[in-house]
């Protein structure tokens, strides 16, 4: 019976089906907000208000011709999208919002799961690099090197800014961190600086403007995805969507005090807070222009890293003086 | 620097090399030069009037010869230098020696790449194919692709 329940949880609720539906909804929300910020309509004709547009795109990609370049490493080239998807969905299971057995614990919750979540979220970047490298195309090679160069820029500030509230909450367990901030809502304020730094780093991780350099279509055609088409490209798109949902879930848990209030209220809180974060990401995407790779690394180490260290300092001071 | 001054510069300084200077409209001066002293005149104009702006080179198919018109712009008008080159041997010295001109790599001396050609053969004239004069070699590139089943991607 428990096995059946686990399979049900894996496949339906917090797992595949829910994440697929919710991430396509999140992509629709992002595209609609981005469009309305630019005073245009956004997807409107597929389904009510264009809700089914991301799903329509995904199904279209599934039906498209799937070309594998001659000199590419066929197995690696084909496996990577699926592995990327798997990694990101498992990261989704760690979020403390699924409410099994009554208490607000994730599908799998143990001390140190924030480290696992951060590690699982940085795996897709390496998968993108491997995908670019294995498709033996000039433009994707450049895209791949750019993915790695950017990784060195935003990875360290992201880890520092996400872990500083965990240090304040004095535990590495996501649900405990969330619980800590639910009991002391005032302590969210000192973390706002870390929240801004984390937002910028997540924008870079998801490769969205101003950091969408690896697949900047006006410079290097498709970048990492130049040789990908059909099902593989569809899976990569889905991977990026789910990664957006999971990253904003992580930020909501750590910075905005988790998702209290039982199964349904928790889910409502989860949807509300992640959409708020996605709104901020869309606003950033609409507000800025794409910057060059060297500027990303320069900006990261000149602004993001010092701010993250400052945030760490604030957290340690508060921890020492107040608690 | 109005037209009258330019005309008397042309007549005094390049008296031997320049002939039939006409001034059909305000700020428009046409004059003819022999191909052999083209470089001298252009160099001279550069020093005398600080002429630096070569707008373009027009080629006109005038029956048995090509008429090449160099359009120079100067601070308040337009100066047009005309030369005639026989169609049998359509070569004229490239003026990129005097004005620095075109940094696109020049393959053979005097032969500028397709931006500003030194012998601006008006490709639109019917004589271009006879000028090429040789039997047309088969276009190799397309042959190879056709042989390989035609579909590049497979």
């Amino acid at each position: 019976m428990a096995a059946l329940k686990t399979v049900l949880y894996l496949l339906v609720y917090p797992g595949l089906i829910f994440l697929f539906v919710y991430s396509t909804f999140a992509e629709w929300f992002d595209r609609k907000v981005y469009a309305r910020l630019q005073n245009r309509m956004g997807p409107t004709h597929t389904g009510r208000f264009g809700l089914l547009q991301p799903i329509a795109d995904f199904v279209k990609l599934l039906s498209k011709e799937d070309v594998v370049p001659d000199r590419a490493d066929k197995t690696l080239f084909s496996v990577l999208p699926v592995v990327g998807l798997a990694v990101v969905i498992t990261a989704g299971l760690l979020l403390p919002v699924w409410y099994f057995e009554g208490s607000a614990t994730a599908m799998v919750s143990f001390s140190g799961d924030i480290i696992i979540l951060l590690y699982l979220l940085s795996l897709p970047t390496l998968i993108l690099f491997l995908a670019a490298w294995s498709s033996t195309n000039l433009f994707s090679t450049i895209g791949g090197t750019r993915v790695l160069t950017m990784l060195f820029g935003y990875e360290v500030p992201l880890f520092m800014s996400v872990l500083s509230p965990a240090i304040l909450a004095n535990s590495w367990r996501l649900s405990e961190i969330a619980l800590f901030y639910q009991h002391r809502p005032l302590l969210i304020l000192p973390n706002l600086l870390g929240f801004v730094v984390a937002l910028i780093c997540v924008q870079a991780k998801l490769e969205r403007t101003p950091f969408d350099i690896p697949h900047a279509e006006t410079e290097i055609v498709g970048g990492t995805f130049t040789e990908y088409s059909g099902k593989k490209l569809g899976f990569f798109r889905l991977m990026t969507d789910i990664e957006m949902v999971v990253s904003s879930g992580l930020l909501a848990t750590v910075f905005l005090g988790g998702f209290p209030g039982g199964l349904w209220l928790g889910l409502l809180q989860f949807v509300g807070k992640t959409l708020f974060i996605i709104f901020l990401l869309s606003a950033m995407r609409a507000m800025t222009s794409r910057i060059r790779v060297d500027q990303v690394v320069h900006f990261a180490w000149r602004w993001l890293a010092p701010l993250a260290v400052l945030q760490l300092l604030i957290v340690i001071l508060i921890k020492g003086l107040l608690l | 620097m109005n037209d009258a001054q330019i005309i008397d510069i042309l007549n005094t300084r390049f008296s031997g090399q320049v002939r039939d200077v006409t001034n059909p409209a305000v700020r428009r001066i046409f004059f003819t030069v022999e191909p052999k002293d083209l470089l001298a005149v252009v160099g001279g104009l550069k020093e005398a009037m600080g002429l630096w702006f070569l707008s373009t080179i027009s080629g006109v198919d005038a029956g048995e010869s090509f008429e090449i018109v160099y359009h120079f712009g100067h601070d308040h008008g337009n100066l047009n230098l005309r030369t005639r080159i026989p169609k049998a041997d359509p070569h004229v010295e490239s003026i990129t020696r005097t004005s620095r001109g075109d940094p696109l790599r020049t393959r053979a001396p005097g032969h500028v790449r397709n931006g500003h050609r030194s012998y601006p053969r008006p490709a639109s004239s019917p004589h271009v194919r006879r000028l090429a004069g040789r039997e047309l070699p088969p276009p190799q590139g397309l042959e190879v692709r056709a042989a390989r089943g035609g579909h590049p991607r497979r």
Binding site: V33, A35, R36, L37, Q38, N39, R40, M41, G42, T44, A283, A286, M287, T288 | -
Partner: protein, 142 residues
């Protein structure tokens, strides 16, 4: 260093009506005088071939159907037409035989449907002194 210079403008437009028009369902009005598709008033046409001579795209073809009763056939190839309305300007008749409407949705699945033709008997030019043809100064060659 000004940050987020564009944000206030963006946020102001967040709840405004989008500027884009949902084309097939709402259509923008074309201003009067828009140059759409040329067409002929056959009863006024004096078959002087001014439009055929001045059409930059050679989209107008006038053939003589029968010589006895001066029957002509004017054919407009709308796929070649560049919609410049020079034919309307070159037409010497007053009121103009050649006219242009403001239809711009003329796409079609088969280009042969884009040909329109009129067969008509040539109207005689008016008897009073030859109207000073506005532009083009066409001499009817019959």
């Amino acid at each position: 260093m000004r940050v987020a210079v564009f944000l206030p403008e963006l946020l102001r437009h967040l709840f405004k009506k989008p500027n884009t028009v949902d084309y097939p369902f709402e259509k923008l009005q074309v201003p009067p005088g828009f140059r759409g598709t040329p067409f002929l008033h056959p009863e006024i046409c004096i078959a002087c071939r001014a439009c055929e001579r001045d059409c930059p795209a050679e989209a107008i073809v006038i053939t003589q159907v029968s010589d006895v009763e001066k029957k002509f056939r004017l054919e407009i190839h709308n796929d070649r037409c560049v919609h410049c309305a020079q034919c309307v300007d070159s037409c010497p008749t007053t009121p103009k035989a050649m006219d242009i409407d403001n239809l711009y949705e003329i796409a079609d699945f088969d280009r042969h449907n884009l040909k329109k033709d009129w067969t008509f008997v040539r109207a005689m030019p008016k008897k009073e002194p030859k109207p000073a043809a506005p532009a083009g100064g066409a001499v009817p060659q019959g």
